[in-house]
Point group: C2
Chain length 233, copies 2
DNA sequence: AGCGAATAGTGTGTATTGAACACAATTATA
DNA sequence: TATAATTGTGTTCAATACACACTATTCGCT
């Protein structure tokens, strides 16, 4: 097989920012490292790109190994490539972020990796440039959620409109008007009334909806300003 | 120096999609390859990441070598990493896109690289996955220009409002209303009247403006829905 | 010099959308 | 059965988008 003459072959890592939602707050799935390097410190879940593995496949592998989840929103964020970013050896890292609804995750796999769901407000300092990665992922999440209807990705199968509202309020740390929120969501025609009611609710039980997945696909691919009022800064 | 045990060190390439504007159409700076591999075919301008070079610096180097330009809008687009994307050898490519105002470019450097400004409508087929890269860059350009005021990056130092309108019409292949466009741009307070008039114009000479660069920085970093009406599809 | 063609610039009304707020309905608990 | 807490629906006002009318400047032609 022919090769390029250029000799600078380097390690390609992947790191995953995994966002979840517990009903109140946005959470991150972080690793308390029980391996070298930087043993004992906190980091993102990551791994190296294998020789016969597509980049996208590697991202799915890493996410699957940690969470047992395989069917989530997963998007490439950016590639970090400063020379000194990894003190061990020159490594560039292709960063992905995932949105998971924390329902059918594999708790054993998570425990085995020494991973924990941590609130954004309680995030510890992370190794290398992982803090910058999280910061950028959060910016991208806010950006994207204002334009596309990805808030649903953090919801369980069935959910009420007030629950969905909590996701957006958590993403933007900003309270929204119930009445206007409800009208906006319903006007998209993305929700299907299941006929069921939320049993967890203490007082009035809200309608449980599920996502109209076909229409949702259009909302993802099309550029639609979903929440123009949620501008950043 | 310590190294990772993982053995899969691979080549990291960078490819640049370079957008320009000639007053009528969006143009791409493409290479008619006079070197291997794929000699004689068209491609993006690219190169390999060097050992002691930050990723961002490599992108600037490649753009500078080709155009002589060093102070342009340059943004990382995405990293392409399919196993077979480069038939010569496994290579991942970090793709950047640049917006240049085709004024003070180094024509000798461009000629030396056998590069040409090609209209989007006349783009030839490119090697490897470069077509997909261009397609995605164009999508990103449309996305971004609808939200942020990056249309200015394709303008010369001084320009008239109708000229700026042409940029947006070229990006979206869509005609815009003169009156509303003018009002919207002026309301941003991003333009400074130079007092001069456009001498090239055949009939009524328009006012020449220049960009208020401080305010412009805010428009770039802030999320602002710049042209909500320019939705994609 | 005067006129028409072409392009640049300013103004105005209507329809749509966002945002604030009032009120009615449901359910557990006291 | 009243009360507290939360959900669901309606209404009004202001801001913005959008369509379209009109005026202004400049060149070239008669």
């Amino acid at each position: 097989m022919v090769h390029y003459i250029h000799s600078n072959r380097i390690l390609v890592a992947l790191d995953c920012i995994i966002f979840g939602f517990d009903g109140e707050e946005i959470k991150l799935l972080l690793i308390k490292r029980n391996f070298e390097p930087e043993l004992g410190k906190w980091s993102l879940m990551g791994g190296f790109l294998n020789a016969d593995e597509d980049l996208e496949a590697a991202a799915h592998r890493i996410l699957y190994n940690l969470t047992g989840l395989d069917n989530n929103y997963l998007e490439q964020l950016q590639t970090f490539g400063a020379v000194k970013r990894d003190p061990v050896e020159r490594t560039i890292s292709v960063v992905y972020y995932a949105l998971v609804n924390s329902q059918q995750q594999d708790l054993n796999a998570i425990r085995a990796h020494n991973a924990y769901w941590i609130s954004l407000s309680e995030k510890p300092d992370l190794i290398f440039d992982h803090d910058a990665m999280v910061e950028q992922a959060l910016r991208q999440l806010r950006y994207k959620a204002a334009l596309h209807a990805i808030g649903f990705e953090l919801m369980p199968e069935k959910f009420t409109i007030p629950q969905l509202q909590k996701v957006y309020e958590a993403i933007y740390t900003k309270l929204l008007d119930r009445r206007n929120f409800s009208r906006k969501i319903l006007s998209t025609d993305l929700l299907i009334d299941t006929g069921e009611k939320d049993t967890n609710s203490v007082t009035k039980k809200g309608k449980l909806y599920r996502l109209n997945t076909e229409k949702y696909q259009k909302y993802l691919t099309d550029y639609v300003s979903f929440f123009p009022e949620l501008t950043l800064s």
